[in-house]
């Protein structure tokens, strides 16, 4: 018996218009052979200015990742952190296969100014060269390092938040589960921005978003295949690699999840929120009508993007407040 899949919900027109302008740059379906080229994409040239604009400085440290492998973390904070402030442990996105620790921090920089926050962003090793469990274990190692150096960094450990977007959201969810199961560190909250949670890639929304939008079903296969190889679709996939597989979502810190109605991750993200509520937990979920993956980055001036970022920031501000 075949299940009919309805076409995806329509894109918001402002977002659709913006996507039309950049369509040639990135196709909806990303294949393994495109990975080298995608890794060449230039960084945000305005990042330095944005860091300076909030009165912050940037430092780097080399720390021990999974099994002692060296990884770099970047620290963004005020140069004179007299009182400890909240900590934001940031994990970048890029489908598990691309990206670096500078991508995605922009949205968190204002909290350095408003809350005296300290941001630590980890450069975890990428698949396929470093398959699971390296990425999530690298991220957890960076989180442990952050907690152990809280005094030196100027972080108030009662206000340590983990967060990231897309694969960064998935890794944030994995790291949050690790922190629960390995008994530390204690997290104030968990920010999952359109997170990539489910290697099975078989939901209705996954099937709906094929050949359209941004990061479609095929792209998702590319990412998960690189991360898990032959273990995909088997029982040998841990809940830390694919948090959607977790059946027990109890004892988690307050969680924020946002996602668009027209992206692959819609159904797995909604399911994750439902799992947290079923276990009696605290979760705020926003599903944005007509949003494709990453739309707030593509068209930040659009009405929907402004609303998405406002909701996210309002929640984060409450979490970081003393």
């Amino acid at each position: 018996m075949t299940t009919r899949i309805h076409p995806a919900p329509p894109f918001d027109p402002e977002l659709d218009a913006a996507l039309g302008m950049v369509r040639e740059m990135i196709p909806p379906s990303l294949l393994p052979e495109m990975i080298p080229a995608l890794r060449q994409m230039p960084d945000d040239p305005t990042l330095e200015a944005q860091i300076a604009a909030v009165g912050a400085v940037h430092e780097e440290r080399t720390i021990a990742g999974f099994e002692g492998g060296e990884i770099v973390v970047s620290i963004f904070r005020r140069p004179d952190q007299k009182t400890p402030g909240p900590g934001i442990y940031h994990i970048h996105g890029g489908g598990m296969i691309i990206g670096n620790r500078f991508q995605g921090v922009q949205g968190f920089l204002p909290f350095i100014e408003s809350h005296g926050a300290v941001i630590v962003s980890a450069e975890y090793r990428l698949a396929p060269e470093f398959p699971d469990p390296v990425p999530v274990e690298d991220c957890y190692a960076g989180l442990i390092w952050t907690a152990e150096h809280a005094d030196e960094l100027g972080i108030d450990l009662s206000r340590l938040v983990v967060g990231g977007a897309s694969a960064g959201g998935g890794l944030s969810a994995g790291v949050t589960l690790m922190a629960r199961d390995r008994k530390g560190p204690e997290l104030r909250a968990s920010l999952l921005i359109y997170p990539m949670l489910d290697d099975r890639n078989d939901t209705v929304s996954a099937h709906q978003i094929q050949g359209i939008g941004v990061w479609d079903k095929t792209s998702n296969d590319t990412g998960w295949d690189a991360l898990l190889g032959d273990r995909r679709h088997t029982d040998a996939v841990s809940i830390y690699a694919a948090p959607a597989r977790a059946t027990d979502l109890s004892e988690l810190p307050p969680t924020f999840i946002d996602v668009g109605t027209a992206e692959v991750f819609r159904d797995e993200d909604v399911a994750y929120a439902s799992g947290i509520w079923a276990a009696g937990g605290d979760c705020e979920l926003h599903v944005w009508p007509g949003g494709f993956h990453g739309f707030d980055g593509l068209a930040p001036q659009a009405r929907l993007s402004v609303a998405m970022v406002e909701a996210r920031n309002a929640w984060l501000a409450r979490m970081l407040d003393a």
Binding site: P13, E14, A17, Q103, V214
Partner: protein
């Protein structure tokens, strides 16, 4: 997620991207996006502050190149476009305008007009023009399109072809159309209307089924227009129109056109070749070309070798004249991006 999605940023100042600008605003209009969304989008596309005052005097709303609302301001003498009755939208750029500025302003103005209902049903007008120039709709659909444009069923109309950046007065129905030769503005006007600026005026269409033919002839006429002759009437072309349309259907240019290429490559200039076809004296040709008359005489003697025929004979002059016309038609392009 910049790395997966890219980022909408200002268009290249040098490269014209007319079709995509049009598609952008069409999506906003079709999606019933509000004025604010249109203004922000225009500002980001242009990479410059955009302002809008729906009517009257005094300051209007402004959005900067990031799409953020900033303090209100006056239109002053910025590049601008009218919106409806007395509304105005403007783009705050000093100095050399960027390649897409005019099109962004125009589409933004049109989109805003539609919103405020000051221009009655702009989008349906546009679609009606598109239906009629395409010529492949059913007779019923064509008649409906004519009615929508306010023409009586068998009124005589003419299609007029213009550059996409040309402004059209008089409230005529128009659309931007993608053609083999680039992006062109199609206007449907009653018989007798004459546009300002460079244009090709098509043959008369007595009824909707003939609009496509009028449009094709308008395109030929537009391609022949230029500084010397800004407005060309397809009616004036006679049999040359038939020839032009025939040549358009061939996959490769005629040998006589390639011969013109050879002559141009050998140092002949188009105005001088036109002089040869007109039977101008060697002395006058020399003056036009800026060379000594004996130099011109020597060149004239080699011309039959370049062309493959003798342009000093009566039939040769006609042949050269026609070849020059076909050459112009072969190379005319509009807004290639």
């Amino acid at each position: 997620m910049r790395e997966l999605a890219g980022r909408l940023s200002a268009l290249d100042p040098e490269a014209s991207d007319t079709l995509r600008v049009i598609e952008y605003f069409d999506k906003l209009v079709d999606g019933r996006v509000g004025a604010e969304g249109m203004l922000r989008g225009a500002a980001v596309l242009g990479g410059a502050t955009v302002g809008y005052r729906p009517s009257g005097v005094g300051p209007g709303r402004r959005f900067d190149g990031e799409g953020s609302l900033i303090e209100p301001g006056l239109p002053e003498d910025w590049p601008a476009a009218g919106v409806g009755g007395d509304g105005v939208v403007w783009l705050e750029r000093r100095g050399e305008p960027h390649a897409n500025d005019a099109m962004i302003l125009e589409r933004l103005a049109l989109s805003l007009s539609l919103l405020s209902r000051r221009l009655d049903q702009t989008a349906p007008h546009r679609r009606a023009v598109e239906v009629l120039v395409a010529g492949d709709a059913t007779p019923e659909a064509q008649e409906q399109a004519m009615a929508q444009l306010g023409f009586p069923a068998h009124a005589t109309v003419r299609a007029i072809a213009m550059r996409p950046t040309a402004t059209v007065d008089g409230g005529f129905a128009q659309a931007i159309v993608a053609t083999r030769i680039g992006v062109v503005r199609a206007v449907l006007a009653p018989d007798g209307a004459t546009p300002a600026g460079s244009a090709g005026i098509g043959v008369a269409a007595r009824g909707p089924a003939h609009v496509q033919e009028s449009w094709r002839s308008a395109l030929v006429a537009l391609r022949l227009s230029g500084d010397r002759e800004p407005v060309v009437h397809a009616d004036d072309l006679g049999a040359l129109l038939t020839l032009a349309e025939e040549e358009d259907h061939r996959p490769a240019v005629h040998a006589d056109v390639r011969a013109i290429d050879a002559a141009l490559a050998a140092g002949w200039a188009e105005p001088v070749l036109r002089g040869v076809a007109a039977g101008t004296s060697v002395r006058a040709l020399a003056v036009e070309a800026g060379v000594h008359h004996s130099t011109m005489e020597a060149r004239r003697q080699k011309l039959p070798l370049l062309l493959g025929y003798d342009p000093s004979l009566p039939r040769g002059r006609t042949r050269l004249d026609v070849a020059l016309m076909l050459h112009r038609l072969a190379y005319a392009r509009f807004d290639v991006s």
